[in-house]
Amino acid sequence: MSEKNSLVRVEHLVKKFPVSAGLFKTSKSFIHAVDDISFEIGYGSSLGLVGESGCGKTTTGKLLTRLYDPTSGLIEINDPKVGQVDLATLKGQDLKEFRGRVQIIFQDPYESLNPRRTIFDTVAEPLVVQGMGNITQREEQVSTLLETVGLTPASSFLFRYPHELSGGQRQRVAIARALVVNPSFVVADEPTSMLDVSIRIGVMQLMMELANKMGVSYLYITHDLAVARYMCQRIAVMYIGKIIEKAPTEELLANPLHPYTQALISAVPVPDPEFQRQAIPIKGGVSAPIDPPDQCRFYNRCPFADDFCRDNPHPPLEDKGDGHFVACYKV
């Protein structure tokens, strides 16, 4: 992919959090939450970021919306309206303006909506912050959008409060709030994991429809590979702050190359009692990302690890053809 046709280009992105300890809260060690990751997202396409708890996927999402400041690295956004911007170093008024182009949808619709604000106030807030339109225009825009996300008739929802809505409806409000400023890029952090099965598919389909209609690209963060399969063209797998494999979705699921990805895919339960799943066992648990040793992050759990893996730094992502990248010396 050349620079021209990708909306988001992330290069060598790093985020370290200090670990405070001792009497004076001095920090000598760091949590390497996101450790030198690079990826691209094309226009109108979505990238799934999958991995287990604590692997750094949510931190990545927050870096890409600048809710966290990166320690180092480049976040280049080629927005058709604003042009090319390095989001990683944006400050002040420029950053505020840019927030109109990049939005986020959070996991828990019970916590991400302010209980004291009406649905109209909630959805219109990004417009107010960005100084877009007057009150009549805002009301019109919010009404249209509520109808689009399936809250019909909009007039019956505008002046209700979050506690009057169900979980699925609340998540639709959160989606409307993210899309009201017409962003080009949205980070969706587990947007359906709190919803019931029968509601979940509706919200997933809505997000896909809106992506097609409004030309939005998603960074779709999820722990659920099955959901990622339906939402994303490409998937990147994270393990302790590193992207260890990325490939087009069906290619990754059919032909995983990294031993961790293989174990992860083999552990997903299949809704068919006759399917005989062959689980690939891996030892131990995820180690804490506090000052990890300079070797493959998966070294201590990998069934194929040898002295070479122990003595060399974390392997780089290598192209294995057809856009399939993997970070492993043994592949």
Partner: protein
């Protein structure tokens, strides 16, 4: 013939709230045989956890069992007094809860808590003997017995869940209820815990009830599956049967809405509307407002829970695929 371990007949349970009575469990019947597992699957508020609490009679003050029988190995739990109930809990039925952190007391070591549980229910056992059996339990659930002296906060999520399973096994219960035992865990840990639970169940020839919203998890561990909707049992059959030939439109919709990573990518189907408010449940079949096959009869009359195919029960006036004689 296999032996019936638990029989639940026409169980009905209500919660009294300031807004009126919530009909949380309505005429639910099922049987769990010895050494077999039943999976209860359904969405939030469908009554699956309320059934679990009814079986243990661990209900809050505003809940009332309105009718029905719960017969565990010949004893009727609905008729028991407090003293008898104490004997049933832990020894008859024990439970593995979803939030393992909340199920363990943070100020005692994990070992102490299990020793206490054993001693409360078997007064003749002394601490040394109980400690030996805790070590055995730890090994059984895949924990190092050396970890007995650790506190819950020193355990990872998966280890805590194992400790809670060890505790549930402590008094050799006849039946274990596992309420969303792996929902808070990552997929690799979930896989290990589920296979361990399944292995223990088979080795000890125990009966199990699994409760989950995740039909894939239920499919892996259950011999029999019950699909709940809005406080009622919609469909009940052997796992293979229910996946091959779902009868109830809700079961069918639930399966169509579940993404899988295996096989060809099928298109997912949505279910219109939202689950009903159980303060004012819909008349007739509670699924009728969302059902594509609903007719006037569905709106007016409650469908009976009957055997449509051999050992395949469902409550539906217009079942999907019933074999004609």
């Amino acid at each position: 013939m296999t032996e019936q371990m638990l029989q639940v007949k026409d169980l009905t349970m209500h919660y009294k709230t300031s807004k009126g009575e919530v009909s949380a469990v309505n005429n639910v019947s099922f049987v769990v045989e010895k050494g077999q597992s039943l999976g209860l699957v359904g969405e939030s508020g469908c009554g699956k956890t309320s059934i679990a609490f009814s079986l243990l009679r661990l209900l809050p003050d505003n809940a009332e069992i309105k009718g029905g029988d719960i017969i565990l190995d010949g004893d009727n739990i609905t008729e028991m007094d407090k003293k008898e109930l104490l004997k049933v809990r832990w020894k008859g039925i024990s439970m593995v809860f979803q939030a393992a952190m909340n199920a363990l007391n943070p100020i005692f070591t994990v070992g102490e808590q299990i020793v206490e549980a054993i001693q409360v229910h078997n007064q003749e056992i002394n601490v040394a003997e109980a400690t030996v059996s805790v070590a055995e339990l730890f090994t059984l659930v895949g924990l190092d017995p050396k970890l007995m002296d650790r506190y819950p906060h020193e355990f990872s999520g998966g280890m805590r869940q194992r400790a809670v399973i060890a505790m549930a096994l402590a008094c050799h219960p006849k039946l274990i209820i596992a309420d969303e035992p792996t929902t808070a865990l990552d997929v690799i840990v979930q896989d290990r815990i589920l296979s361990q639970l399944k292995e223990i169940q088979q080795r000890l020839d125990m009966s199990m009830i699994y409760i989950s919203h995740d039909i894939a998890v239920i499919a892996e561990v259950s011999d029999q599956i019950g699909v709940m909707y809005a406080g009622r049992m919609a469909e009940l059959a052997k796992s293979n049967e229910i996946f091959k030939r779902p009868i109830h439109p809700y079961t069918y919709a639930l399966m169509g809405a579940f993404p899988s990573i295996k096989g060809p990518k099928k298109s997912l189907t949505t279910l219109p509307g939202e689950p009903p408010d159980l303060l004012n449940p819909p008349s007739g079949c509670r699924f009728h407002p969302r059902c594509p096959r609903a007719t006037v009869q569905c709106r007016q009359e409650v469908p009976p829970f009957i055997e449509h195919n051999p050992e395949h029960f469902a409550a539906c006036w217009h079942p999907m695929e019933v074999e004609n004689e």
